[in-house]
């Protein structure tokens, strides 16, 4: 299944590299800060690589670097996202896209910390929350 995508990518030329800014999100569903990451004070940068279909939907995604806990959570959420079909060249093509997520954990809070989600063009996302103090 993915092989055809890779083939399509090869045929359209490697110009559609992972830094290709032509894939603009058309639908973003916000991604939270995972509870276990807050509880364990896990933060940092995560790079996700998505394989996109011609119509801009997400075929597959994987964690390139960063915490698996954060990364897997993103991969689950990102399947809901959509991108503008790539119309560079004669035909719409499938492609590969890298997205960068930064998880920030502020100083301690109690109760239920809310997380905020910020998108910076073209492919950078920041998710912030507050760490939780221990409970016995």
């Amino acid at each position: 299944m993915t092989r055809t995508i890779w083939l399509a990518l090869l045929i359209t030329g490697l110009a559609l590299g992972s830094e290709n800014p032509n894939w603009i999100p058309s639908r973003i569903v916000s991604i939270d800060y995972p509870l276990l990451a807050i509880q364990s004070k896990t933060y940092g940068n995560v790079e996700i690589e998505c394989v996109l279909r011609r119509d801009g939907t997400v075929e597959n995604a994987r964690v390139v670097s960063g915490s698996q806990l954060l990364g897997n959570f993103i991969v689950r959420g990102i399947r809901e996202w959509k991108f503008m079909p790539n119309t560079i060249g004669p035909n719409p093509s499938a492609g590969l896209l890298s997205l960068y997520f930064e998880y920030k954990l502020g100083e301690g809070a109690d109760g239920n910390p809310k997380s905020s989600f910020v998108y910076d063009y073209p492919n950078h996302f920041t998710i912030s929350s507050k760490s939780l103090l221990r409970t016995h």
Binding site: L36, N45, G111, L133
Partner: protein, 500 residues
């Protein structure tokens, strides 16, 4: 998350110009030197030096060990006596029947299987001549004759014939009569370059043994022992395809592999003897055929599984889970306030960690519907949460003041960032009944250290972790802690009822 500690064992071996191993330094420490004859180029070890101890080995004209701590074999190649030349060593005298090659004080069945010995008592065999029962043990085998069951203990074997791990099975019965089996790891084996990652000597022995396998100090029971074997509490060694009686120097059954005997080799005609009575130069990993210790099992003869040769792979995702400390928006590490709890010896291994894992499994097995509803009332699912908790390796054990049984969230502690979400205190009533004065489990209604105490503490932490409805923040607030305990008591009564 910090990278998990990686395995980096080093073992050093030295060889002479004939490719004979002259010394070996194991990663557990200690060097053993092996010496060979200056005049006979037969590859036989004439002495070994380990620390202050030197053992000399003498052989007869058929290459059988005649003296080390042993002396004498009969025409069949059975060990007859073991005499102490120096020091206190175990001695033995065996009388064999020269007509039948059977030990006189033992009884045998028609297939030559040993059915009774003074040491082990009665033994029974299955139709494949595999040991079925001995003393209080019952064994079960897989199609390749590997022993997979020992009473309630299950052993997993890899595709290359290597042992992967041992697990004990516990049967639990819940209130609906459903049987639940919980498997707890007893030992998980790790390999490096095809060798099991324990300190083994040249023969693959764990510990120190006399030539035929009697332990030099103490009794080895239910543990890896002599020359790659596993010693049961019965005193017999599980030798892969057979069982070996170290004190006698014989297997309890005949060699199942017929081709390991040959007309040219008289010593091979005895189907019971151990490595043709040369136990220091040879080993028999599978109980089927002697082999030099350095060779790969089977020696390319295609009759036995080979040990795996590829190095073990490290934990998945090496390094990538380590957050960039500069890009993290400043976690709590910089804000060490007076309320920070110092947690020592934080670990995810050892008996206490295993006990926590077992207690989680037990808690979920006995969890009743009301309790589950209560825990899920914050909008999350307790079973998914626990599954993730272990999938991402976020449970730890560490030492903290005894008044804390366990805590959720590592904020306000010095547990490394990303290391754990829930930490159980090794100095607490979770593990120890003697600390009930310091920390009262369920306001003193449950004795510390018991299965119920562990489940109570786990349910309390889960209610925090999942923000169960009405559950309060009890940091520095003992009154809230008591109210939380009451909420567990009220909602999870049936769970404890199930645990009777």
């Amino acid at each position: 998350m910090p990278e998990k500690e990686r395995l980096s064992p080093t073992e050093t071996r030295a060889y002479d110009s004939f490719q004979r191993m002259t010394s070996m330094t194991t990663f557990g420490g200690g060097t053993i030197a092996y010496n060979y004859s200056q005049t006979a180029n037969d590859g036989k070890i004439v002495s070994q030096t380990s620390g202050a101890e030197t053992i000399n080995y003498n052989y007869d004209s058929l290459g059988r060990l005649t003296q080390a701590t042993t002396a004498g074999t009969d025409g069949w190649g059975n060990r007859l006596t073991q005499n102490a030349v120096k020091g206190a060593v175990p001695t033995m005298v065996t009388i064999t029947d020269p007509a039948t090659n059977r030990i006189q004080s033992h009884t045998y069945d028609q297939n030559g299987n040993t059915t009774n010995t003074p040491q082990q008592g009665a033994m029974t065999y299955d139709v494949m001549n595999r040991l079925k029962t001995v003393a209080s043990d019952t064994y079960g085998y897989d199609p390749s004759n590997k022993r997979v069951w020992k009473n309630d203990e299950l052993t997993f074997w890899g595709a290359g014939g290597e042992r992967i791990g041992r697990y004990s099975a516990t049967k639990l019965v819940d209130d609906t009569g459903t049987h639940v089996f919980v498997f707890q790891k007893v030992q998980v084996d790790e390999y490096f370059g095809g060798r099991r990652l324990t300190t083994q000597d040249r023969l693959g022995s764990v510990g120190s043994y006399y030539p035929y396998g009697e332990a030099k100090s103490g009794t080895v029971s239910n543990a890896d022992s002599f020359a790659t074997y596993y010693r049961d509490s019965t005193g017999l060694d599980y030798a892969d395809q057979r069982h070996y009686a170290a004190g006698i120097g014989r297997f309890t059954t005949a060699d199942p592999y017929q081709a390991s005997a040959g007309r040219h080799d008289p010593a091979s005609w005895n189907r019971f003897s151990y490595v043709q009575s040369d136990p220091f130069n040879f080993i028999d990993r599978s109980g089927q055929m002697m082999a030099a210790p350095g060779t790969k099992e089977g020696g390319g003869e295609g009759w036995a599984p080979s040990p795996i040769t590829s190095p073990i792979s490290g934990p998945s995702d090496p390094g990538s889970s380590d957050p960039d400390p500069g890009g993290g928006g400043g976690g709590g590490g910089s804000n060490q306030s007076a309320g920070v709890v110092s947690v020592g010896n934080v670990t995810k291994a050892g008996a206490q960690y295993d006990a926590v894992q077992m207690a989680f499994a037990r808690t979920l097995a006995f969890l009743d519907a009301d309790c589950e509803k209560f825990l899920n009332s914050g909008g999350l699912n307790v079973r998914d949460y626990v599954s993730d908790l272990f999938a991402y390796d976020l449970v730890a054990v560490g030492s903290a003041p005894s008044a804390i049984a366990a805590f959720t969230n590592i904020g306000g502690t010095d547990v490394p960032e990303g290391y754990a979400a829930m930490v159980f205190n090794s100095n607490s009533a979770f593990f120890n009944g003697g600390l009930s004065q310091v920390f009262k489990v369920n306001n003193g209604k449950i004795t510390g250290g018991t299965a119920k105490a562990q489940t109570f503490i786990i349910l309390h932490e889960l209610a925090h972790a999942l923000s169960a409805s009405g559950f309060k923040n009890d940091l520095n607030n003992p009154q809230a802690g008591k109210e939380n305990d009451n909420a567990i008591d009220k909602n999870c009564g049936k769970t404890f009822g199930n645990m009777k």
